[in-house]
Amino acid sequence: MQVPILKQGAYLIATVQSALTDDDLKQLRDTLVVSVSKVRSRGVIVDVTALDVIDSFATRTLRDVAHMIRLRGAETVIVGIQPEVAFSMVKLGLSLEGIATSLDLEEGLAYLDRKGKRSGPEVGDQR
């Protein structure tokens, strides 16, 4: 299951449409890391509203995406984590510490806009 990635202004938006296998997740990670510089994006949004499970592998991969993209000079926001998914993640012991998350796509875009207005990237910014 490929994840469509759309370019909207200075941002890339990856919208997960259905359950992803581990290979799908790895592919998404690799594609995003390459695309972000190809289109000179300032920010990446990964919309996981459609995911009914975010387990340890998915969490680790999302975390890797955010860290890799930060190393490429852009910001990542994970948006749309469902309440029951958040509950399960916390129970399992997972966190996305240091990674920006937003309620939905709109909030995610607003977050990236705010980030972009500030003068340059903050070093070691761990929200």
């Binding site: 359950a19 992803l20 296998t21 581990d22 290979d23 009914d52 499970v53 975010i54 387990d55 340890s56 592998f57 969490t59 680790r60 469902q82 309440p83 029951e84 998914v85 509950f87 399960s88 993640m89 129970k91 399992l92 012991g93 997972l94």
Partner: protein, 147 residues
């Protein structure tokens, strides 16, 4: 209630809905958790529990793919003392777990993963049993009961 407690009723009234999912590759992890979610939904679990159960199945199935290469997950609805629940049995004939005590600790992993699979699954579910014979395989049985 007292009379009932004295009845040596069978511990499990196993329904006919056993679902067996062979676990051999990546995509089977998704299949197993989706089947588990469907079965739990049929049992009437609330949405939060469905996510919890599906997440636990995902972790158990991934352990099979990662450490044993193949095995299976058997899902069934169970009943005990009038309460209903779902049972998930994940078994494989892989190498087994040499050190179960450490495998149950948060953050311990021999594969570079986060090391949360087994301890996390125990936290997600109500019952957790694990048996592992070094060199013969591993069997994890978990249950979650409807509140």
């Amino acid at each position: 209630m007292i009379a009932r407690a004295r009845d040596p009723a069978p511990r499990w009234a196993i329904s006919a809905d056993d679902v067996r999912v062979p676990i051999d590759r990546d995509a089977d992890i998704v299949a197993a958790r989706q089947k588990g979610r469907e079965l739990a939904a049929r049992c009437g679990f609330p949405t939060t529990d469905l996510a919890v159960i599906a997440t636990a199945i995902s972790e158990l199935a991934r352990n099979i793919v990662r450490y044993a290469l193949h095995g299976e997950i058997v899902l069934k609805l169970v009943e005990e003392n009038g309460r209903r629940g779902i049972e998930v049995v994940a078994s494989d004939d892989g190498p087994g777990i040499p050190d179960l005590t450490r495998a149950m600790q948060d953050g311990y992993s021999t594969s570079g993963s986060l090391g949360l699979g087994l301890p996390g699954t125990r936290r997600l579910m109500d019952d957790f049993e694990i048996a592992s014979d070094f060199g013969k395989g591993t069997k994890v049985t978990v249950r979650r009961w409807k509140r």
